[in-house]
């Protein structure tokens, strides 16, 4: 791990951060507050990616309407991630298929990885923050 950490100019450390999203967007606050950490992390110029597994894949669904549950709809925030230079979004294939979803159901472009591929990617990270 630490031997792979590169130093950026000025001596700042650049680590690989993965934000791992495992929960549905509504029902609990984890997804919403998890996204707040991701946005803040952009200011630290780290090597950031996001992964979506289990019910976390529902966070990326298109055409979400939250008016019936009187909660703030934060779906559009996922589209804004690109503006924060957070462009590496991974979805676990098994989680997606188990829920009858395809890439066309998502509000942003993602890279679909198998469970094994995602595990390998996770092993490369310096920090995994999981919600």
């Amino acid at each position: 791990m630490s031997d792979e950490i590169e130093m950026e100019e000025g001596g700042g450390v650049v680590k690989k951060f993965m934000f791992l999203n495992r929960k549905a967007p509504y029902g609990t606050i984890y997804a919403l507050e998890g996204l707040e950490v991701v946005l803040i992390s952009a200011a630290f110029e780290q090597d950031v990616c996001m992964a979506f597994v289990d019910d976390g894949v529902y966070q990326l669904m298109k055409d979400v309407d939250t008016s019936g549950i009187e909660m703030k709809n934060f779906s559009k925030t996922y589209r804004a991630l690109e503006g924060y230079d957070i462009e590496k979004l991974y979805v676990e294939r098994e989680s997606m298929e188990l829920r009858g979803l395809t890439e066309d159901d998502f509000i942003v472009d993602v890279t679909v990885l198998s469970s094994a591929e995602l595990a390998a990617l996770m092993a490369e990270q310096d920090v995994v923050i999981s919600h």
């Binding site: 450390v13 950490v37 630290f44 995994v128 923050i129 919600h131």
Partner: protein
């Protein structure tokens, strides 16, 4: 090794806070460094000075405060998560025009950048929660 800890669940409801505390104690006893404990999601409730558990039970909040005092541990509560759950320090009480504050000794309120910084500075960031 330099550790940082993330606590994502409230006290008593969930064992995450107990496990985090026990991990912190064990790491310090082995001579490791604890860079910071960051409280997020319902974890911010670990900082409530108004917590009154039954006398025959552990006092989770006081236990964290004592750890901070004895070992100089930086206990940081996320400001955004704290505010939506009614956790205010004296400054925020005044700024928000509220009539009370409830942050226990040893804790401080700050931003999410403190969590990202902990991830960068520590050798390992260990998460406790669902």
């Amino acid at each position: 090794m330099k550790f940082a800890i993330l606590v994502n669940e409230g006290p008593y409801t969930h064992q995450a806070s107990d496990s985090a505390y026990q991990f912190a104690k064990a790491a310090l006893a082995k001579g490791h460094e604890l860079f910071r404990v960051f409280f997020y999601h319902d974890g911010v409730n670990n900082a409530s000075r108004l917590t009154v558990p039954p006398q025959d039970d552990r006092h989770i909040v006081n236990r964290w405060s004592a750890l901070a005092q004895e070992h100089g541990i930086d206990l940081v509560v996320c400001i955004a998560a704290a505010q939506r759950r009614g956790m205010l320090d004296e400054n925020e009480m005044k700024r928000q025009g509220k009539d009370a504050n409830n942050i226990a000794p040893g804790f401080r309120i700050s931003g999410l950048g403190q969590l990202v910084e902990a991830g960068i500075q520590a050798d390992r960031l260990v998460t406790f929660g669902d």
